[in-house]
Structure formats: structure tokens, C-alpha cells
């Protein structure tokens, strides 16, 4: 595996953890979030700050994960007060508050971010493998979560919050849990990112990044684990495959968002189900 492939695999792994994290919040539990990149940033800044103090890798990752998850739960509290469109704008606001805060903090490097982060001490190829291992664990976890009791309850909350409350589901707890898990995963991705990039800039975690993560989830099919995995791989590789796609990356993302929502709001996963049904249909007709 060359260094190029290793870096590509690392980026795919990190994006996958980010997208699957958002998928738990928006896909499983139905809570819109337009500020996922902020938690990615919180994880990255926490890990980078500790790393520069000499804290070893496993602890920085853990700290980044916990920090993002804890702040995620606090942000999740807003979802108890506001819903749908209000929540979308609020979570978007959290992204700007995070950026606005980080940019003004001298101890976090201000506009210049944190540079000169020591490496992981692992060979880039081995480190890419480690990221992939984490991504695989997140896939397995998502698949398990989806079929667990908690997954069903998330479904109920996503489908009809008031009905879920009526049948005795503690909606608040589940929403906070979804926010906690999803944002903690974003924090983990942030921690993994710093040893790969060795430098972090505030702008890496801006609104465009949040939208890029959302794009992966939406195009894959909100709530579908394999759909999101496929979309993440596809959308990450797209700019690498062709020069034109790299130049017009955002244009392609935007156009895909519009077209997918227009013709298949369920994303790739929805499309797959539709094709399967269409294939199965002739048998049902006598």
C-alpha cells in the first residue's frame, strides 16, 4: 500500500465515522443537525491540545471522544426545546459559535490553528489500518444499534415524537443518547484526523464541512448504514478519480443533493429498495 493509498484510506475511514455518527442523530433518531463539523472540531482540538502536551495517542482519542460527546449532549438539550426547522437553524448556529470561539482563542492558535502536532509514531499504512479498524467497528456498532431495542425506540421517536411519548417512551433520554453517541463519534474522527493531518485549521470544521457530511448521509439514504458507507466511499473517491470532479467537487455535491432529493428522497438505499421491489413485482402479479 503506497503512501497515497494510505492517505486515501485514512480520509475514507474518517469520513465514514463522521457520516455514520450523523446518521445516528439524523437517520436513526430523526433529529436534524447542520453543525456536525463542530463536534469533529471539538474532538480534533481537544486531542491536538493534549497531544502537544505529550499525552499518548489512546488517551487523546478518548479525551476527544468524551469531550465532543459531552458537549454534544449539552447541545442535544436544545433538541428537547426546539424541533425540526428551529433545530436545524440552532445546530447550524452551534457550528458558527464553535468557529467564532476557536478563532479568537490565542491558546488554541486563533486563526492559524494548531500546527506541529507530533505523529502517531506508527507507519502511515499501519495508522490507516487503525482508522479503518475504527470505521469497521463503527459500522458494526451502527448495524447492531439499528436492530437493538434502542434502535427501535429511535425509530419511534423519529417517526412520531408525540406518539412515542404517549406509549411511554422517554423521548428526551433517547434524543440525548442519540446526540451523545453521534457527536462522540465525530470527536473520535477528529482525534484520528490530527495524527493524520498533523495540523488543524479552524476552517476545516466550518459549515461547508457539516454540509459535506450531511451530503454523504443524505445521498446514501438517511438511516441506512450500508447506503451511507457506500456514499461516503463514492463521494470521497470522486475528486480523486477525475480532475474535473475535483475542480467542481462542491458543484457536484450540490447538484447531487438536489437530484437525489427530487427523484429518490431515500438516497441510494431507497433506490436499491425501489429496484428490488420492481424486480420482485412481476412475480406478485398473477
Amino acid at each position: 500500500m503506497s503512501a497515497y493509498i494510505a492517505s486515501l484510506v485514512s480520509v475514507i475511514g474518517i469520513n465514514m465515522i463522521l457520516a455514520l455518527g450523523l446518521n445516528i442523530i439524523s437517520g436513526f433518531c430523526g433529529q436534524v443537525s447542520l453543525g456536525h463539523a463542530a463536534f469533529y472540531g471539538i474532538g480534533a482540538y481537544t486531542a491536538a491540545y493534549l497531544c502537544k502536551l505529550g499525552v499518548p495517542l489512546p488517551l487523546t482519542l478518548l479525551a476527544g471522544t468524551i469531550m465532543a460527546g459531552a458537549i454534544g449532549i449539552v447541545v442535544g438539550l436544545t433538541s428537547l426545546r426546539v424541533r425540526d426547522d428551529f433545530l436545524a437553524v440552532t445546530t447550524m448556529g452551534i457550528g458558527f459559535v464553535f468557529l467564532g470561539f476557536v478563532r479568537k482563542q490565542k491558546w488554541l492558535g486563533g486563526e492559524l490553528g494548531i500546527s506541529g502536532i507530533p505523529g502517531s509514531g506508527l507507519d502511515p499504512v499501519v495508522y490507516a489500518g487503525l482508522i479503518l479498524l475504527f470505521a469497521a467497528a463503527v459500522i458494526v456498532f451502527s448495524l447492531w444499534l439499528k436492530r437493538s431495542w434502542m434502535g427501535f425506540t429511535f425509530d419511534a421517536v423519529a417517526d412520531d415524537e408525540d406518539a412515542a411519548r404517549t406509549v411511554g417512551v422517554n423521548v428526551s433520554t433517547y434524543k440525548l443518547t442519540a446526540f451523545g453517541i453521534g457527536t462522540a463519534l465525530a470527536g473520535l474522527a477528529g482525534g484520528l484526523y490530527i495524527y493524520f493531518a498533523r495540523i488543524i485549521l479552524p476552517d476545516t470544521f466550518d459549515f461547508v464541512q457539516s454540509i459535506a457530511i450531511l451530503t454523504m448521509v443524505v445521498i446514501g439514504g438517511t438511516g441506512s448504514v450500508w447506503g451511507v458507507v457506500a456514499a461516503t466511499i463514492g463521494l470521497t473517491l470522486l475528486p480523486e478519480v477525475s480532475r474535473a470532479a475535483a475542480d467542481y467537487r462542491l458543484l457536484i455535491f450540490g447538484a447531487m443533493l438536489m437530484l437525489v432529493m427530487r427523484f429518490s428522497p431515500g438516497g441510494l438505499a431507497g433506490l436499491a429498495t425501489m429496484l428490488k421491489r420492481r424486480k420482485a413485482a412481476p412475480k406478485e402479479v398473477p
Binding site: 467564532g100 459549515f207 458543484l251 443533493l257 432529493m261
Partner: protein, 287 residues
């Protein structure tokens, strides 16, 4: 003195936010769509003003073109992007709107270049007056006048004319309005036409104010406008106007007193989050 100056300058910005936010509120009130692509219309207006003004030397011609083009663009956005997906849950149109905004922003980058365009001559930018010791340039004055005239005009239109009454009826109860013979599709076109024209004018004025027009200029303003319409209680025009002015003032104080902790753009959202925690339905929204 600083105190008064901060309030006044804040209100000037508030007027600009109001022009932007009213269009968003109109769309939300009628269709329940978070119209993020409004930012694209704002930038489109600015580009029309700067290219026409640079080509002909006449700012008035620039604003006239901006008015017409952004109104048409708004109607086209409704027809092509939103109309086909009206029945879907709110998440779908929101994502479409984000996608459309990205496409528009990238299109501006390709057509007009990534580095932005400055005005060849910008007489309003350099001319200033100082009533009561506070210095304004003419662009700021124009911004206040334009927003007051246009919004007042809209208020009269909505209150007094037949079309305005049909519009209000449709916002209040689309089904009832339809059964009384109001064509809801025409109301929607009217809605997008007016809201987008406002955004286009606001874009042109902001372009003059910065003396610079760039592809991403709509982004921050429209994110703040989204915060404003939520703050005002989604769909409430009066709430939106009040929230715009409040946000302008809060920002102008925040940039002085919170400068070491947060940047300007974060302050508005911080304020929004605090307000929503206390009043989840917004300032003037109903539960």
C-alpha cells in the same frame, strides 16, 4: 457617545438583515421551507449591480437589472426546485435548498471568477455625512431608506390591495383561500418574486458597502437571516422585523464587548441559542 453610535450602526445593519430575512419569512410562512438558497439570490443581485454598473456607469441601471433578475430567479427557483417536492417532509426541501445554494455559489465562481469584483466607481461609498457626530456613508443611508420604503410598500400592499389580501388569506389558511377562488400558485410566485427582489437589492447594497462582490458573500448574511426568522418566531413578519433590528444592535455591541471571546458572526447565533432556550417558539411566535 459610543453607546449611541453602537445602537445607530446596529440599526443600520438591522435594516439590511430585515430586507434579507423578510423574504425568508415570506417563503417559510407560505410553504414551510427553510429557503437557504435565498443567499444565492442575494449574491446574484450583487453581481447584477456590479456588472451592469461597471459596464454602463449607472448604479440606477444596475439596481433595476438586479431587481428584475433576482425576482425572476426567485420565481424560477420556486418552479424548478420547490414545486416538485412540496408534499415531502420538511427535511427534503431543506436539503434541496442547501444543494441549490451550493450550485448557485459555484456557478458564480465559474462565471464571475473566484476573486470577486470591485466597483469601478463607488461614489456613495466615499461620500459621507455626519448628523449628530456619527459618520455615515451614503450606502448606509441608502440601505436604511431602501429597507423602510420597500418594507412599508409591502405592508401597504398586503394590507390594502386585493392581491395582498389574497396573499394574507393564503398564508393563514391555504385551503380556505383556495375555496374562495384564490389561486395559491399565483400567490406563491408573487411571494418568491417579492422576497427575491428584496434580497437582490440588499445584495447590491451590501456589495456597495463592502465595495466588493464575491461568490460566497451571500452565505453569512443568509445564515444570520435564518437565525433572525427563527428568533422572530418562524413565519411572523413583525417578529422578523423586530428580530432583525435587535440582532443588528446585539452584534454591534458584541463586537466591542465580546471581541476577545467570539467573532462577530458567532455573536448572533449565540444570542439566538440563548433566546431559544428561554422562548422555544421565538420572540413573537405562537406555540
Amino acid at each position: 457617545m459610543l453607546f449611541v453610535e453602537l445602537i445607530v450602526k446596529g440599526l443600520v445593519y438591522g435594516c439590511m438583515y430585515a430586507m434579507m430575512a423578510v423574504g425568508l419569512t415570506l417563503v417559510y410562512g407560505l410553504l414551510r421551507i427553510l429557503h437557504i438558497a435565498h443567499a444565492g439570490v442575494f449574491a446574484l443581485g450583487a453581481y447584477m449591480v456590479v456588472t451592469v454598473a461597471n459596464a454602463t456607469g449607472s448604479l440606477a441601471a444596475g439596481f433595476l437589472v438586479a431587481l428584475v433578475v433576482s425576482a425572476l430567479a426567485g420565481m424560477a427557483i420556486y418552479r424548478l426546485a420547490y414545486q416538485p417536492i412540496l408534499g415531502h417532509p420538511p427535511f427534503v426541501p431543506m436539503v434541496v435548498s442547501i444543494g441549490l445554494f451550493i450550485v448557485m455559489q459555484e456557478a458564480f465562481r465559474m462565471i464571475f471568477g473566484a476573486y470577486g469584483i470591485a466597483f469601478d466607481t463607488n461614489p456613495w461609498y466615499v461620500a459621507t455625512i455626519s448628523p449628530g457626530g456619527i459618520t455615515f456613508n451614503y450606502v448606509e443611508i441608502a440601505m436604511v431608506i431602501a429597507s423602510v420604503v420597500l418594507l412599508l410598500g409591502f405592508g401597504l400592499f398586503a394590507g390594502l390591495t386585493r392581491a395582498g389580501i389574497a396573499w394574507r388569506a393564503t398564508v393563514t389558511d391555504p385551503q380556505m383561500a383556495t375555496s374562495f377562488g384564490v389561486d395559491p400558485v399565483r400567490v406563491r410566485y408573487l411571494n418568491f418574486m417579492f422576497g427575491s427582489a428584496l434580497a437582490g437589492i440588499a445584495g447590491g447594497l451590501v456589495g456597495l458597502l463592502n465595495n466588493y462582490v464575491e461568490p460566497t458573500m451571500g452565505g453569512l448574511v443568509s445564515y444570520k437571516a435564518l437565525a433572525i426568522i427563527v428568533l422572530g418566531g418562524l413565519g411572523s413578519v413583525r417578529g422578523t422585523l423586530i428580530a432583525s433590528l435587535i440582532l443588528g444592535v446585539v452584534e454591534s455591541f458584541g463586537t466591542i464587548y465580546l471581541a476577545d471571546v467570539f467573532d462577530r458572526d458567532a455573536i448572533g447565533f449565540l444570542f439566538l441559542i440563548v433566546v431559544l432556550m428561554v422562548r422555544p417558539q421565538g420572540l413573537l411566535g405562537r406555540k
